[in-house]
Each structure stands twice: as C-alpha cells, then as structure tokens.
C-alpha cells in the first residue's frame, strides 16, 4: 500500500515536471537567443553560446524602455481610477437609501451585458472629436469606464456584506459618510480591492485593440502595441532575432519582478472567490 502511494506520487511529480518543461522551454529559448549574435545563432541555435552578447539589450532598451513607461502610466492610471471611482459608487449603493437607487444600479448592471465591440467605432469617433487621439488620456478614460461596471458590481456585494453595526456606531459618533468609507469600509476590504487591482492591472497591461486604435505615434506606444513593429523593423534591418528577443525579455520583466515580491498577495487576491458564478 505504502509503496503504491509512493509510486503514484513520483508519477505525479514526473508529469508536473514534464509540463513545466514544455511550458518554460519557449521562454528559455527566448532568453537564450536574446544573448546571441547573428553568427552565434546560426552555429548554435538552441543552446547557450559564450560570450553572452549584451549589445542586443542595449539596443532593445532604447526602444522598449519608453513602451514600458507608457504601459506603466496607462495601466496604473486605469487601475487606480477604477478602484477609486468604483469603490465610492459601490459604497453609496451598498450603504445608503435614496430615491432612484435601484434604477441607477440597474443602469450599471445593464452595462455588464453590453460588450465593448458595439461601441468600438463610435468610441473611436468620440475620442477623435474630444481631441484625445494619440494621447494617453484617450486610452485611460475609456479604460476606466470599461472596468467600472464589474468593479462596482463586485464591491457593492462586498460592502453590503459588511456588518451594519460598525457603520451605525460610526454614525452615533458623528462621522460623515466619507469618513466612514475611508476609516471603516476600506480597511476591511483590502483583499477584494487587491484582487480587483491585480485583475485590472493585468487586463490593461495586456489590452491590445483599443490601445492600437488610439495610440498611433511611435512615442506613445505601449508594450502591446509597440513590440510587433519593433520586431519587424529590427528583423528587416539586421536579419537577427537577438534584439527583438531582448526586447521581449525586457518587456516581461516588470510584472515578473513585481510577482516575485508580492506572489503571496497575488495568489491570495486571485483566489479570493471573486471569479465564479
């Protein structure tokens, strides 16, 4: 019996390690090839060649650095904007009674069912008319609006579940609704807020379609928008994939590094139960 269990456990490890290998092999090759000169790449395509060539990284950084900057600004502003605006609105919906509350909340729920594809073209025209084309705000403001309905929906449910006595006690002490929000509701909601934050950062970090439509000039490009033209230009010029691959590695670093520091919070946030039906 004991032996049977041990063998099945060893088998599990083998299957998992094999899956890990398959998953990480392309990533390893990206790293490996990013350090190669064209000649090294021809002679030894799939294994490490020495000396490592850091020129590729110098080249790539001058292009990809600004993309990362733009992505950080855009993803950061969208995520922060959603969190601030949505938590205020959700708090009001969850804790107070006022005329039109149900109606206004249903208006927001309806948006959960309207896919972005319907408004893609009119949004483009709107952003063009507001003179926001090729500007970060042209991505940030619609990005916040897109993320609001789900965030309000999720946070309202959460705030409504907080014990009412806490807020009544606050009312007796004479604190204002805003103070109650900042001092009572927010500190109790860090897990759900961090889940939302992570989700929105990942979403806006990886957003392709809208950023591609709005951000047209080279200096405005995000990682999603910029890496493909960067690849094409570089490969056409140098016939070497090294600089492009170095660019991919650099673009991957910010979130990966952040993950190394906050992996516990990240995993807890993503698994907090917000994502089911």
């Amino acid at each position: 019996m004991v032996r049977k269990i041990r063998i099945s456990q060893i088998l599990l490890h083998i299957v998992i390690l094999f899956l890990l290998f398959l998953t990480f092999f392309p990533i390893f090759e990206m790293l490996n090839k990013s350090f190669k000169t064209t000649i090294q790449d021809i002679h030894n395509p799939w294994w490490i060649s020495f000396p490592l060539n850091f020129e590729n990284y110098k080249l790539a950084w001058s292009y990809v650095g600004p993309y990362i900057m733009n992505t950080v600004i855009i993803a950061g502003s969208i995520s922060a904007g959603i969190l601030i605006v949505a938590s205020l609105a959700a708090y009001v919906f969850a804790r107070f009674k006022f005329p039109g509350r149900e109606f206004l909340f249903i208006l927001i729920l309806v948006l959960l069912m309207i896919p972005g594809i319907l408004s893609l073209i009119p949004s483009f025209v709107l952003v063009r008319d507001l003179n926001l084309l090729d500007r970060r705000l042209g991505v940030i403001l619609p990005g916040i609006a897109t993320g609001l309905p789900f965030a309000i929906f999720l946070l309202r449910t959460f705030f409504a579940g907080l014990p009412g006595e806490l807020f009544e006690a606050g009312q007796i002490d004479g604190i204002s609704p805003i103070q109650a929000f900042v001092n009572i509701a927010l500190p109790l909601s860090t897990p759900i807020l961090s889940a939302l934050l992570i989700m929105n950062i990942l979403n806006s970090w990886n957003e392709i379609i809208w950023a591609r439509i709005v951000l047209t000039s080279e200096s405005m490009r995000t990682i999603s928008v910029g890496l493909v033209p960067f690849t094409e230009t570089y490969f056409a010029q140098t016939r070497s994939s090294g600089p492009a691959l170095a660019g991919y590695v650099i673009s991957s670093l910010p979130l990966v590094i952040v993950f190394f520091f906050v992996s516990k919070q990240f995993i807890r946030g993503m698994t907090s139960g917000a994502f089911k039906m």
């Binding site: 899956l19 006022f98 005329p99 594809i117 073209i121 990682i223």
Partner: protein
C-alpha cells in the same frame, strides 16, 4: 425634508464621477453604435439606409467564413482554457508534499505575468517560425518529417493559432481551479476516504461539482471574449493569409478603419452585440435553472 435632500445630494455627488465617465464613454457610444448601424456613414457623411447593411451582412462571404473561424476558435479556446488547467490543478492538489506543491504553483502562475503579446511573438517568431530554423520545424526535421508553414500556410494558420501556448497549463484559470479544489472541506475528503472512494471517483463526484461555479464563469467569459476578441489577428495575422484566420471583430475593424465604412462596420458590431446578449441571457437562465435543481 430639506435636510433629507441635502443628504441625498451628498450621495448623488459621490456617484457623479462614475456616471459622468459611463455616460460619456459607455452609454453614449453604445447608443450611437445602435443608430450608426442603420446608416451608410463613411466618416464624413451619414444617411439613413434602413436595413440595407443587414441585407449586406447576409451576403457577406468573408463574414460567413469569419463566423466559422470564430466558432472553431471559441470551441478550442473553451477546451484548452479549462481542461489542461483543471488537469494541472488536480495534479498539484493530489501532491502530498505541500512545499513542492507551492513551488510548482508559483512557477505555473509566473507565466501569466509574461505579457500576452510576448507569448504571441515567442510562438510566431520562435516556436512556429515557418523557416526550417524555427523551433518546431527543427524538431520535425530531426524526426524525419517536413518543415511546416504554420502561420504562413492558409490550411494551418487557424490550427497554429490554437497551438499557441501549448501545453496550455498555468496562468490565472489554473490558479482559480486549484483554489476551488483546496476549498473543499477536509471533512468531506476524509469521509470519502473512509467510504473507500478512490481518487478517480473523488475527482468525478466530489471535485467536479465543487469547481462547477468556476467552470461556468470561465465558459461564459470564454464565449463572450471569444466573440469579441481579435487582438491576435490585429497584431499578427491581419485575418490572413487570405481569410484563414479572419474573425467577425477583425472584419468589423477592417471595414471601419481600412475601407472607412463605419456604418456597415457598426452593423456587424450590432449583430455581434445581439449574439453576445443572447448567449448571456441563455446562460443566466441556464444558471438559474441548475441552481433551482440543486436547491
């Protein structure tokens, strides 16, 4: 009375930022999208053409192809977005060694932090590169096979898109399934062991029902995202070669931004919107009815 209104005013004021953003960037464009779908708007002028756009849609050969491509991609996406993830979650869940299990979980989650566009590019440039030097082609040649054209071959382009990310484990879905499994009460698992319930039976009759709500979430999101998504095509294939990877969203985009037929593109958007709405409503109904069954 007056005091009441003052208080209400405060609430409305706090809702104002959300509604200003939503009115300008959500309600207004959605509503005007509905209207533009019935015009021949070409960026300069627009006049009402009734149902003409929708008649054109019925005869749009490329749109028809793009719908079948989309259905294939959605079907494949639902399978590869869930089956390998549940499989991996089960593997890690059945590991006795907690510490190693957490290490594995860390590594498999790590891949979801690599930008999507980088994954796309690694697969198109490196793994499925059509030259004999591409990774997959090198392996095939070593094994005595032929180099393949992958994204360059109209017959294989769609299949290549599905291959991206193989073996499709790791990432957020896996993490959430694993958490679902770990949320199963210890007492239930112990009871099943005492009752002589084997691993296979436990997976089928205890694990599956308990991660059903997560599965539902991913299926619905998978369908909705699958209908509207065209990021891969927009960045990499442009719907080609030919129309082999064309999907409705990409076709709408091309009509709008390449042929400047905003009116017609809006009507494609409207049809996609209605299909998503139907899927969502069906799902809501379906979810309700299964909940009633259980309850």
């Amino acid at each position: 009375m007056l005091k009441n209104y003052k208080r209400y005013g405060q609430y409305y004021l706090l809702l104002l930022p959300a509604f200003i953003l939503l009115i300008i960037f959500s309600y207004y464009p959605s509503f005007s999208g509905l209207i533009y779908a019935f015009t021949n708007w070409d960026a300069a002028t627009a006049s009402w053409v009734g149902l003409d756009n929708f008649k054109k849609i019925l005869n749009d050969r490329i749109l028809k192809e793009s719908v079948s491509n989309m259905l294939i991609l959605i079907g494949a996406g639902l399978v590869i977005g869930n089956v390998p993830q549940i499989f991996l979650a089960e593997l890690l869940f059945n590991l006795k060694n907690r510490r190693l299990s957490e290490r594995y979980r860390f590594l498999f989650t790590l891949t979801s932090l690599v930008p999507m566009v980088v994954i796309m590019l690694i697969w198109t440039q490196l793994v499925l590169n059509p030259s004999p030097e591409g990774l997959m082609n090198s392996i095939l040649l070593k094994l005595g096979g032929d180099a393949k054209g992958w994204f360059g071959d109209p017959q294989m382009a769609l299949f290549s898109m599905i291959l991206v990310g193989f073996p499709w484990v790791g990432g957020i879905n896996f993490l959430i399934y694993l958490a679902g499994l770990q949320g199963i009460p210890e007492s239930v698992l112990d009871a099943s062991k005492i009752d002589g319930c084997g691993t296979m039976r436990r997976i089928l009759f205890i694990d599956f029902p308990l991660i059903r709500s997560q599965l539902k979430f991913f299926i619905i999101m998978g369908i909705i995202m699958g209908i509207q998504g065209f990021g891969f095509q927009l960045l990499i294939t442009d719907g080609g070669p030919g129309t082999s990877t064309m999907v409705p969203g990409m076709w709408m985009y091309k009509n709008a931004f390449k042929y400047v037929k905003f009116g017609y593109a809006s009507s494609i958007g409207l049809v996609m919107f209605v299909s998503i709405l139907i899927v969502t409503l069906l799902n809501l109904k379906f979810i309700k009815s299964t909940e009633e069954e259980v309850g």
